[in-house]
């Protein structure tokens, strides 16, 4: 029995900011003070506040320490654990008020959140199956196997209104129904853990923080549709996730929760991992299955849909990690518990990966229908450096931008589609006034061009042409007719592409054209980049009145483009200037401007 538990985040974010080192220092310090039998150190998955990592929570007090360094550990051990004095300077500032220390759950970051898929992330030790079981793990599997018929399971999922969290938002229960309805000697359950959207990492966090939930959910799915074999397709770039998932599978096998005659019933189910080699297209369902089969990951036309002819030509269902993470709780708490959350057509909660120009970058889970404003201003803590909110990009390369004037939009599947974006996997990238929308569209297009598998011409050639046109716009070499051509090309690619990657590739362009056409026009007509990003359209100038002749700028200029003598106004030779911006950063008098 331990009197205190210290939870240290072992997610990818905190690991990269040094949480492994923190844990080993902590263990050494505890041993040095003879506390190793009193205080237990637990490595968990992601807490969500990645911007503040490495983070740790000390229970039973619930003190939340953020941005902890190894040097801080002796103080935490000697003050907090030995003497019971909380180290205030290391507490997450939002938990500290004038005279009391709030619990993390009372902060703005957590208050508005509702954790379903992330329920156990940051709470349990993902490498210990007993901890998962302690929080009702595998109860749902036990319940379906001993009390429910497969069709009853499907009915519950249908009734819950759960829709696929990976992108399209197809009703999960319906998908299961289709696969259950097809007779076959063999069926498969697959999990898409390929998560390739720039800015999205919720699936990784579930795999790292709560891997058993996936095993339990896939087993339930297997029972529901009559499958005995499951495959998890996880990207090899997620080494921590792969490792923990493998540990979890081994533990489940040891406990007999995977394998033959689970809970003494006739149900047998086994699972394996397949590592993806980092091709974005392998997140598309038919390409993913082709890849599991051992072929080059290319999509194929649908129909036939995987529910009819999927992996190895057999009926197959494929859901992503976050979708599965909801299943055990729906079984245990009921469909009406789940569908009481959310909006009319989008039930439950959604995890968003907040990134970009926002204070609290990290993971948040909110009920569907939460407004963009609540997510950005309240949970996310707003935009840093007093800048203005300009747009939010959702859905990665398949999605689009939500402009600032729509900040009160209630986020659900249908509202996002209606304004030309989409939920996608849930990446939410916040942009401020220093972001050029043409440049953003170009960024996502560059990604799609790189990741197109090349099988169909609209995607292979079309996205490349789009990228070239955007580059010309950013250089100021385009005309207004080119904008029309670009738009036309977008619709052609949407209509002609074979799979979701190509069909959605033009979305970032279309949505920015729709809401920020004036910015495109500024590039084309005025040859200006209003946000000051596109280098070819910028020129740097020194305002003579403001320049004190301190020479800082000329000393920092890497190409020697700035001339002038001490105490006299300097000037920039535009033919030499490479527009790196080093001079602006150094100038103390705001005397240098980008135009």
């Amino acid at each position: 029995m331990y009197r205190s538990h210290i939870l240290v985040c072992g997610g990818t974010g905190c690991t990269s900011s040094g949480s492994e080192q923190i844990i080993s220092t902590l263990e050494q310090e505890l041993a040095k003070n003879g506390l190793e039998k009193e205080v237990k150190v637990i490595k968990t998955g992601c807490f969500g506040l990645c911007a503040l990592g490495p983070i740790m929570i000390v229970y039973p007090e619930g003190s939340f320490y953020s941005m902890v360094k190894s040097e801080d550990i002796p103080e935490i051990v000697s003050e907090h654990l030995l003497k019971g004095r909380i180290v205030k300077r290391l507490l997450y500032s939002e938990t500290v008020t004038e005279d009391t220390v709030k619990s993390l759950n009372e902060t703005d970051f957590y208050k508005k959140q509702h954790r379903v898929a992330l329920k156990n992330c940051g709470v349990i030790n993902p490498e210990n199956i007993d901890e998962y079981i302690a929080l009702d793990g595998y109860q749902a599997l036990g319940k379906v196997l001993t009390e429910m018929k497969p069709q009853e399971v499907i009915e519950v999922i249908k009734e819950s209104g759960l829709r696929g969290r990976g992108g399209g938002g197809f009703p999960t229960g319906l998908k299961w129904q289709f696969a259950a309805g097809n007779e076959s000697d063999q069926k498969y359950v697959c999990c898409n853990a390929d998560e390739g959207d720039p800015g999205a990492f919720m699936d990784r966090s579930v795999l790292e923080g709560d891997p058993h939930v996936l095993i339990e959910a896939m087993s339930i799915a297997g029972y529901a549709i009559g499958a005995t074999k499951g495959y998890v397709y996880v990207r090899a770039e997620y080494p921590i996730a792969v490792k923990r998932l493998q540990i979890a599978i081994n533990q489940a096998k040891e406990y007999g929760l995977l394998g033959q005659h689970i809970f003494g019933t006739d149900f047998c189910f086994d699972m394996e991992l397949r590592l993806g080699a980092g091709a974005f297209v392998c997140g598309e369902e038919t390409a993913l299955m082709t890849s599991i089969e051992g072929h080059r990951g290319e999509p194929r036309p649908r129909p036939p849909f995987p529910a009819v002819k999927g992996l190895f030509g057999k009926p197959t269902i494929l859901n992503n990690v976050e979708t599965y993470a909801n299943i055990p709780q729906i079984i245990l708490k009921g469909a009406s518990w789940f569908n009481s959350m959310g909006t009319e057509k989008s039930k439950g909660t959604k995890v968003f990966a907040l990134g970009g120009k926002i204070h609290n970058t990290g993971l948040v889970e909110v009920p569907m229908g939460t407004t963009l404003r609540e997510i950005i201003e309240e949970i996310g803590g707003g935009i840093p450096n007093g800048k203005k909110f300009k747009a939010a990009q959702t859905g990665g390369p398949s999605g689009g931008c939500i402009p600032a004037e729509m900040i009160d939009i209630k986020i659900d599947y249908d509202n996002l589609i209606a304004i030309g974006s989409m939920m996608g996997s849930g990446g939410l990238i916040v942009m401020d006034e220093d972001t050029c929308m043409v440049d953003i569209a170009k960024f996502f297009l560059e990604f799609t061009v790189d990741e197109s598998c090349g099988k169909c011409a609209p995607c292979r050639i079309g996205t490349k042409r789009m990228y070239e046109m955007l580059s010309q716009i950013c250089k100021g070499n385009a005309t207004l007719e080119d904008l029309d051509k670009l738009e036309e090309l977008c619709y052609e690619i949407k209509a002609g592409s074979l799979c979701g990657l190509g069909q959605t590739a033009p979305n970032p362009v279309l949505s920015t054209l729709k809401y920020y056409r004036h910015e495109y026009e500024a590039h084309v007509v005025d040859k200006k980049c209003p946000a000051g990003v596109c280098k070819d359209l910028l020129s740097f100038e020194i305002i003579a009145d403001k320049c004190k002749g301190c020479t800082l700028c000329s000393r920092v200029c890497p190409v020697g483009a700035i001339q002038g003598t001490v105490k006299n106004p300097h000037s920039i030779d535009k033919s030499k200037c490479i527009k790196c911006g080093a001079c602006i950063e150094k100038c103390r008098f705001d005397a240098i401007v980008k135009k």
Binding site: M1, R3, Y59, L82, K83, G84, E131, F263
Partner: protein
């Protein structure tokens, strides 16, 4: 895993040991003063005594935690017991031997051990 009962058994066993991470307000909180004064007077065996006793008796409605100097150093080791209804009892000059009685009488049966409280000592 041959039956649900087996799963249940693991759950019950583990729930107890994870109890410490549950910070809801419906619990009895045992707070042990662990400043220099408390430690010097022997607060550590008292703290460990509470942890062990609570575990042994499977009291999942009790958390044991620690705090700094309460300000009455001459009475250390000091232990405060907070019940969910907001009642506070202050035990003073605690020892590991006294712990068992506080756990049985107060934590389990809800009867304050008045002879150990600050009221009776101060008289």
């Amino acid at each position: 895993m041959k039956s649900l009962a087996e799963l249940q058994a693991i759950r019950d066993k583990m729930k107890n040991s994870m109890n410490v991470r549950d910070d809801n307000g419906n619990k009895i909180r045992v707070v042990v003063g662990m400043a220099t004064c408390g430690i010097a007077a022997g607060a550590r065996p008292v703290l460990n005594g509470f942890t062990e006793e609570v575990a042994k008796r499977n009291l999942d409605n009790v958390t044991v935690t620690q705090t700094g100097c309460i300000g009455i150093c001459q009475y250390e080791p000091v232990v405060e017991v907070y019940t969910p209804d907001g009642e506070k009892t202050t035990y003073v000059k605690m020892t590991a031997e006294k712990v068992a009685k506080v756990v049985t009488d107060h934590l389990v049966n809800g009867k304050v051990v008045s002879e150990y409280t600050i009221g009776s000592v101060a008289k």
